[in-house]
Symmetry: C3
Subunit: 481 residues, 3 copies
């Protein structure tokens, strides 16, 4: 709409993705098929040989198949990825299709690529060189995707779906490498991903958005906001993320007390986080009016910050403290830091992922390091300590204090990968190939979607009225701009 | 908006909550942290000592950790509390933020307070004076919160968030006491909470709303209704409540057949309830047109009424009968009783919780008492009877008939606590401290929320048109302010 | 509204369902209660005799109760039926109440009738002539209902709720018979129902819609489309179907590797399907703009097509291929086939179930037959082959090749039942008894629902403006019609 008018002073952007998007989807999907054909097989618990495997390993009941330990959590995580992240990004008044739709696209691609990348690093069977997948693999693939969806949050409304596919391809690749370094080489514990998912994903997205800075973004200001109903849609995303976060943080923890404790700790941190978010949101506004942006986002920071420590013996009140602080920090981030970053650092962060993922992720890494460093046998029991930190094999002699140091090192790795990787990928995305929208055309579904012809929500009777009313404003817009 | 005009004849209410809401949130959350620090620890199944516990108790597999029995049901219950109750209350055209948002706030506070209150009464470890929490505790905390959310339904749109926090503080406290009396002292079975949750919560909310009666509420009449999309949002709440109710009623039932049977019975009662609701709704209107209010609410009554008997051998057709009757009673409630209560008893019940929770809850208590009283060994088997009613320890000699009597007594306790407690809390909430909205300002998110500036759903082109149309009211606002 | 004007040349239809709908609901629900009373009892795992049963069968832990194997999947399936199908059908701008509401009604009736019908055919206990139900029964009842909800998709907006109840009554009956023939008599494997659910349901609905062809349906054209927000609502349905489809296809598979593998295969096929759908959708439009109809529907086709083969050793890349092809076929269906069918075959298919269920269902049947026919002991292991295809009892000597043939035969049975059954039921529904809407009144909630009085989403300030503006268009409409 407004596109034409601005084309006088803007070099018109070519947002036609009719060749590029199908090409990327087709070629990459076919590549996935070929690579899966070469590399991916079922693991022993999802293969029809399970009956034999059971006998060999004296497993008496099918219920001991890992499927029954993890599948309910997997489904919760799956909902977080597609409905949680997807609907959280529907809050813009005219970018709901893009928010939920592109989230759907890149997550679907990302999880396939993640199965391969993570498989090569973590699950390669040395006997036959194949990647063996089971329920834990698909949870990890969903986790890996989460990093890229976080990054999408910073770029929401300002990039094309082709750019998002590229962002995802590199994001997953970087993720798998940093995850390998952190979890395998450094032997760091991070079952809910404060570091590997949130810190990495957050700074990856922020670095990309920083490179893609648009000085004239205020030309799309009219669309960079919510309407009443779109805020309610976004609450669907918020709540499913919030409710299922205990599953997220416990999905790949140790069987038994590990999963049990991770769920409880996350549950508590999130509850506490809601209260401090409401408090700061109310305190910061005239008459104490609450801001939906805070409620939709900062309430989730407690879950992010428990991503590392949830499976540790952080104690219930420790979880409450972490959540409490996160709600405060995250809400202040939305109030103070986001405007500051945009003004001073030229960093446009549509969803405020710095406040929801990056900062709480770093905090979570620090909390995890401290909790690990202060772990004792009296609190964990001898066997409990070994199980929780996996002090076995060549790590049998590692002390909790040393572990704390490695945890902190892991955090630095995640940060470095996010910032450096994001900057590089940002420059790739800056190439004028990808069909991104013009500065006055951001946050607008019109660019990439066939929109319903009907004026939204206007009953037929009004349309007649609009028909005539519309003529004048169009000219008028030219004058007043 | 309309506020200004009415300020001539209304004492203006001060709805500024900038001090009170943050103060309540901060102080109470810090109190929670301190109390959790003093009292709350992990139980033996979520503690790192689990490995030792397993050995001591000859538990062979981690899958026997209670987590795997109850966590999927917990997550379903959790969704009911936050998305179910939250979205059910988005039906008002301009109170969706308050419906889903305040629900979020008070549930998050309530579950923490519930863990403490229920812990002191039910889960205090005599060896160290600590409350030990596990997955069953967090289900019970969510249950406890449900009672207060039901009460919120009666007050929806007419109270401030600070009042809701107070309502929740006292509600949880009362809940824990009545629950202790009913479940522990009277040894009553009520795993889905027809009595302890729905009867108590329903009458608690009704008593509060009765005390807070607003004779001039018709001044907000324009906002006390739905629009097309808000009704669809509310269906999200309805359906998640409806679908997950089998998990609600079976979440804390006995392992094995207890949970299995509770889920099936609830599933059947709910299905049956839908048909009788549609029938009465259609029968009561010109041309048989259905009313969304009935479909959103009365279809759930069958789940409420199965809260006590679901784990008993009520038989599949017994469940169908209960659901069938509940759909009829509840829909008639909306058609006849709600208007009657408002006119004659001065009782304003925004969501009609009398029809959805209070009456079906009482019915559920009665059904439970009858089903218990008529239980026999031939139906349950000797061991099954003992398991189902927990006729062990000092209750080893209680007969089903006696149990039926106690069940009825439990119902009376729930009723009494709801009515008396609600009346007292109502008077506390009437103090002019809490920032509640004026009579002409109810059901309006404007009072407590920063609303998106944009006119909702009006495409930009129309705004020009509005711009002029708005001028006159705008000036009017200036003058009358 | 427009109704009055058209009544000059249309025989006015009587859409009053005040007698018929309540009568159907009441009488059928009472019949259910009576039949359940005569026939339905708990099975040994949901009966209080479970404690005894455990001892007799040397079951050591309650966790071996089938409830814990299947309940999480059941809840996911349940969400698909009510929220998935329900919200997928809210995409029409003014039929969201009917979409989600009638789905709710007929599913609630259908699952009861399915428990009886499937019980008589599959679960009749020979010792006492009773149907014994457990968690697997209620999953199967939900599955059975899915067939009818698919059929509803073809008729959406064009039939009355009474017609839908009749459609469901016959649909469930036919389903139970075809399922008995396919699964029991032919011993075909179809755990996710590519054939018994999707092929049958798809062609059943298409045949009905073909018989009910409305030559003047373009009179309702103004309402046969979406608006912005209704498309976002529909995405709720899409995503819950998409995310939980792995549970759908694995819900009644074999314990252990069967369920595990079915979930993974479905997960992969669906991911792949998303990419090819986006590709074709973008390729087919000017400037590569995506169409929400494709994203909402064709992305699901991969799950449909894995309904038979998901539990087989189809391999991960095999699943990706199936999904990939399905996305292409289904999107082409929406682009080419639906308009063709409407023009040439006089087949009006509101939701495009031919593209989402019928074609992918057939494809899934074929894929299943091929995968079965090519199964070998080296891939499955000896015991694995027997378990997967249940080559026990009188089928102990059936070879995979023979099984492949039977699978193909099963597909034909499903097709035949759908087409013939649908045609017959279509003629029954054509009787002028059922209160269906006039041709110019389709896709309109006004016919069967009390709609909120307020103009939707128009803020009060605008209404003043509308009030006057409306006068002229009203007269104008009469003239221009």
């Amino acid at each position: 709409m407004g596109n034409c008018c601005n084309s006088f002073w803007n070099t018109p952007k070519n947002t036609d993705i009719r060749i590029s998007l199908p090409a990327v989807c087709f070629v990459w999907q076919i590549a996935m098929i070929i690579l899966f054909g070469v590399f991916v097989r079922y693991d022993e618990e999802s293969d029809a040989h399970w009956a034999e495997f059971k006998k060999e390993h004296n497993i008496t009941s099918d219920i001991d198949n890992d499927f029954y330990f993890r599948y309910p959590s997997f489904q919760d995580v799956h909902v977080m990825i597609f409905v949680g992240f997807g609907f959280l990004m529907t809050f813009l008044k005219r970018y709901s299709f893009g928010g939920v739709g592109f989230n759907f696209l890149i997550a679907s691609f990302g999880l396939q690529w993640a199965l391969l990348m993570q498989g090569w690093f973590h699950a390669l069977d040395p006997t036959d060189g194949k990647i063996k997948i089971g329920v834990e693999s698909i949870i990890n693939a969903d986790f890996c995707v989460a990093g890229c969806l976080i990054a999408y949050g910073a770029c929401l409304g300002k990039v094309s779906p082709v750019q998002l596919m590229v962002l995802t391809l590199f994001g997953i690749t970087l993720f798998a490498v940093e995850e390998y370094i952190i979890l395998k080489l450094l032997h760091v514990r991070d079952s809910g991903g404060s570091m590997v998912i949130h810190t990495f994903g957050g700074y990856y997205g922020l670095a990309i958005s920083w490179v893609l800075y648009r000085p004239n973004l205020q030309q799309s200001k009219r669309l960079n906001g919510s309407v009443y109903h779109s805020d309610v849609f976004a609450m669907i995303g918020t709540l499913f993320l919030w409710m299922y976060w205990p599953s997220f943080n416990s999905a790949i923890s140790d069987h038994g007390d590990g999963q049990h404790r991770a769920a409880i700790n996350t549950y508590l941190a999130l509850a506490s986080c809601v209260l401090s978010t409401f408090a700061i949101s109310s305190l910061s506004a005239k008459k104490g009016k609450l801001d939906m942006v805070h409620i939709q986002n900062a309430t989730l920071a407690g879950g992010v910050a428990m991503g590392t420590a949830a499976e540790f013996m952080i104690t219930p009140y420790g979880s409450l403290i972490v959540g409490f602080l996160c709600g405060i920090i995250s809400t202040f981030g939305y109030l103070v830091l986001t405007p500051f970053l945009e003004k001073r650092l030229k960093l446009q962060d549509t969803c405020g992922i710095h406040n929801l993922h990056a900062m709480p992720g770093v905090l979570g890494g620090v909390v995890g390091a401290i909790t690990a460093a202060t772990a004792t046998e009296s609190v964990y029991s001898h066997e409990g300590l070994i199980n929780t930190f996996d002090f076995t094999g060549k790590y049998a002699n590692r002390s909790p204090q040393t572990q704390g140091g490695y945890q902190a090192a892991g955090l630095c790795v995640a940060l470095a990968f996010g910032l450096v990787g994001g900057a590089i990928v940002g420059f790739i995305l800056k190439l004028p190939l990808w069909g991104d929208p013009a500065d006055d055309n951001c946050f607008d579904d019109e660019v990439y979607w066939e929109l319903p012809e009907d004026e939204e929500s206007i009953p037929p009777i009004l349309e007649y009225n609009n028909h005539f009313a519309r003529k004048q404003p169009d000219t008028c817009l030219h004058n007043t701009n």
